[in-house]
């Protein structure tokens, strides 16, 4: 490829992107141009989404060659996912596609100010030689694509979400707040799910292993939405994690968090409800302290009975030097413990009816023989069936574990 040809493609692509609002058609056009310009067989463009877990959406795909193996589109999803998750380019000289075909693949994340905004995948015939020139060219194009995709999300508001810069930042803080890894605790299965209704919600879930090998579970809610809520959540999380390293009793941990945050919270009209539980896997005991949050639900799999583990306590920032109470409960095999935000019980359907606690208990009862992950998936589906086409008003998040 000559220098002029290169500039030609780059020019074409960029001019499309520089249209103030690149739309879906423009993206299809881009993938088409990239194929013809670079001699690729197939090209796809992906958008990375933030909020509600990392996921991706395909903006466009173009197949320049007919009769490409049908597995290619599925592989395309997988490599785009890898590029987005790892934030690094992947080059396969010979990637097996279908029964007996190999292809050259370049998958690259689209980075804008060190943030992954999407990915581009380019598929070439097996005999193509991806020389340095092509790679460099792909690189340059990618830089421009990233800006284009950013413009697209910024202006068009994918899913009807308008992502202002500030909100995007806050959403980033929030997704960074979910625990990266679910700790492996003996004798229980564990799952957490969240469906975000807004760019940034006030729900907060955290779990970790404490220095003395217990499972720490923190759930909270910041009253008030938007950026301050996200920032307060971040601060609460740090305060709690720090306190949980020093203090072992949940009541003492909440007292420490309150001590730290009270001076800043008291002046503002912001409330933080927070609940901190510790699970001791050998004796199967759950300890709990509560700062104005919803009580966890315990479903006893053996008897089919359920109870709410109510512990009184004022929200964080409510009273200086408040003494929190400590409660404990002995769990048995096949018990299920659910920590949830009000978005779960208050999820509203088209008729304005709330999902309610009774239905939550029903779902647990009807799925009690499954493990935590399946129960969590089922609860999400029952909530989804209930909400239907109505707009989800509040964040829905919960965490549950089952003593196996």
């Amino acid at each position: 490829m000559t220098r002029t040809e290169e500039t030609e493609i780059l020019y074409q692509v960029c001019s499309l992107l520089l249209q103030a609002q690149a739309d879906e058609q423009a993206f299809t056009e881009i993938t088409c141009r990239l194929c013809s310009g670079l001699g690729a067989s197939c090209c796809s463009l992906w958008l990375a989404r933030s909020g509600g877990g990392r996921s991706q959406e395909r903006l466009a795909i173009y197949q320049a060659v007919k009769d490409l193996p049908s597995e290619l589109v599925n592989l395309d999803f997988t490599v785009a996912k890898q590029a987005i998750e790892q934030g690094q380019s992947l080059v396969w000289q010979k990637l097996r596609v279908g029964e007996n075909q190999e292809m050259l693949l370049i998958a690259s994340p689209l980075l804008r100010q060190a943030q992954v905004v999407g990915a581009v995948c380019l598929w070439f015939a097996p005999d193509t030689h991806a020389g340095n020139v092509t790679l460099m060219l792909v690189h340059q194009i990618i830089r421009n694509l990233a800006q284009g995709i950013y413009n697209y999300t910024y202006h068009s508001g994918v899913n009807g979400r308008s992502l202002s810069k500030e909100l995007e930042m806050a959403a980033h803080i929030q997704t960074g707040l979910l625990p990266e890894k679910i700790p492996d605790i003996r004798g229980i299965s564990l799952a957490m799910r969240s469906l975000m209704a807004h760019e940034v919600g006030g729900d907060y879930l955290d779990l970790f292993q404490t220095p003395n090998k217990l499972l720490g579970i923190a759930v909270g809610d910041v009253m008030g939405k938007g950026i301050p809520a996200a920032l307060w959540m971040a601060m609460t999380r740090v305060a709690l994690r720090t306190a949980a390293r020093t203090f072992s009793q949940p009541d003492a941990v909440l007292e420490e968090v309150n001590r730290g945050l009270y001076p800043d919270l008291a002046g503002q009209s912001i409330f933080v409800t927070l609940q901190y539980a510790l699970y001791e896997p050998v004796k199967k005991i759950l300890f709990l302290a509560n700062a104005g949050h919803l009580p966890p639900l315990i479903y006893h799999g053996r008897t089919g009975q359920f109870e709410l583990l109510k512990v009184k306590g004022i929200y964080i920032g409510g009273l200086e030097n408040y003494k929190f109470k400590l409660a404990g409960v002995q769990l048995k095999e096949s018990d299920i413990v659910l920590f949830y935000s009000d978005g779960v019980t208050e999820a509203v359907n088209a008729e304005g009816q709330q999902f309610g606690l009774r239905k939550v208990v029903d779902v647990l009862e009807k799925n009690a023989l499954f493990s935590a992950a399946e129960i969590a998936d089922k609860l999400i589906i029952h909530l989804g069936q209930h909400i239907g086409d109505t707009r989800q008003r509040d964040d829905i998040s919960f965490l549950l574990f089952k003593v196996e």
Binding site: G53, E57, Q63, S70, G304, L369, D377, K378, G388
Partner: protein
């Protein structure tokens, strides 16, 4: 291809899987384009749903747990046996044994058996289709419980004839789509005893197999009929058939009830463990049917729409999904597939109506 309930089927749609009658005769061949007349006839025959060709969804590979040939053979033999039982109580046991054997062998040669087929049988032939289904579901459960071949064959035969007493009841008790009156209910409950009486008199017929007919309506907590047996006192084959019988009735819309989705039927059964059902049976049964069978239209948490194309025994709520439309509802061309088992951040949030 997707399953469409009969009331949502329209003329011009193309059938992608054949529809069979009770004796295994083809009512409608695959590939036929529906006309108003066909639809009316299918409704009269009580067909519940059809597999319809759908370009957007694309082809789906649904492997039945037993071959079509064996299933039809079982249907035919069950019908013959039940039709003849009044006139000639000598059941052709050799034929029955051979088809039960075939089913057992096919199931045992399958590694990961999971039932994925949406029920499309005709309601008028309900008893026979139901019997075969219950036999297959019971056998898969039996395999999960570690039964050997000999025990499986007994279980299969018992399941196949669990409702044989129904053939001795007056028509009007059986074909009601309203709740039965007290008197009718008493009469209906007699099918257990009647069935047992017929079966136990047969030569070479194991008594424990006949007990399936007698005890399949007994409940774990002792609230069943006819003898209010409890827990371990209930015949072990009958315990299994109690579960599979109800599951099949729920998912096929028995007695004029609205059809349950497989996941709803499964939840009902799990919720009734230790009430109606033996917990061990429920635990083994729940992994034998797909929670979201192939062809189920779903919405993901990303607001994308898709169809289930593959199910996994180990991850019942996390099938492989073909994404058909993006979050804005725009059609995905070509669609790509993703495994929810490998994408923990994705999950199903809704089951979409089969008719949409």
């Amino acid at each position: 291809m997707r399953a469409v309930p009969i009331d949502k089927v329209r003329a011009g749609m193309q059938v992608s899987r054949a529809v069979y009658g009770a004796s295994g005769e083809t009512l409608l061949a695959a590939g036929v384009t529906l006309t108003p007349r066909y639809i009316q006839r299918l409704q009269e025959l009580g067909v519940l749903a059809l597999y319809i060709h759908d370009e957007e969804v694309g082809d789906l590979e649904i492997n039945d747990v037993v071959s079509e040939k064996t299933r039809l053979q079982a249907l035919k033999i069950t019908k013959e046996a039940m039709d003849n039982i009044r006139l000639n109580p000598d059941l052709e046991l050799a034929k029955v044994n051979s088809v039960v054997n075939d089913i057992v062998e096919e199931l045992l040669s399958n590694k990961d058996i999971i039932v994925n087929l949406v029920d499309i049988r005709a309601m008028n032939d309900y008893t026979f289709g139901h019997s075969v289904n219950v036999a297959i579901l019971s056998l898969i459960t039996g395999i999960a419980m570690g039964y050997e071949r000999e025990k499986l064959c007994k279980l299969g035969t018992g399941a196949l004839f669990h409702d044989i007493g129904n053939t001795l009841l007056p028509e009007n008790v059986l074909n009601q789509d309203r709740p039965l009156t007290g008197e009718e209910e008493n009469l209906y409950q007699r099918h257990t005893v009647l069935g047992f009486e017929v079966l136990r008199k047969l030569e070479n017929f194991s008594l424990s197999v006949a007990h399936v007919a007698l005890q399949h309506h007994e409940r774990y907590d002792g609230t069943g009929y006819p003898r209010q047996l409890q827990k371990g006192a209930i015949n072990e084959f009958a315990r299994i058939v109690a579960v599979t019988d109800l599951y099949d009735k729920l998912t096929s819309g028995w007695g004029g009830q609205p059809r349950c989705l497989p996941f709803q039927a499964l939840e009902l059964i799990i919720a009734n463990r230790e009430k109606f059902f033996h917990p061990d049976v429920v635990e083994n049964f729940m992994n034998t049917v797909a929670v979201f069978p192939i062809g189920t239209l779903i919405m993901l948490n990303t607001q994308e729409k898709g169809v289930v194309v593959q199910t996994y025994k180990e991850y019942p709520t996390r099938p492989r999904v073909r994404v058909l439309a993006d979050s804005g509802g725009k059609r995905m061309v070509p669609p790509y597939e993703l495994d929810l088992a490998l994408n923990p951040n994705c999950c199903i949030v809704r089951i979409l109506d089969e008719g949409n």
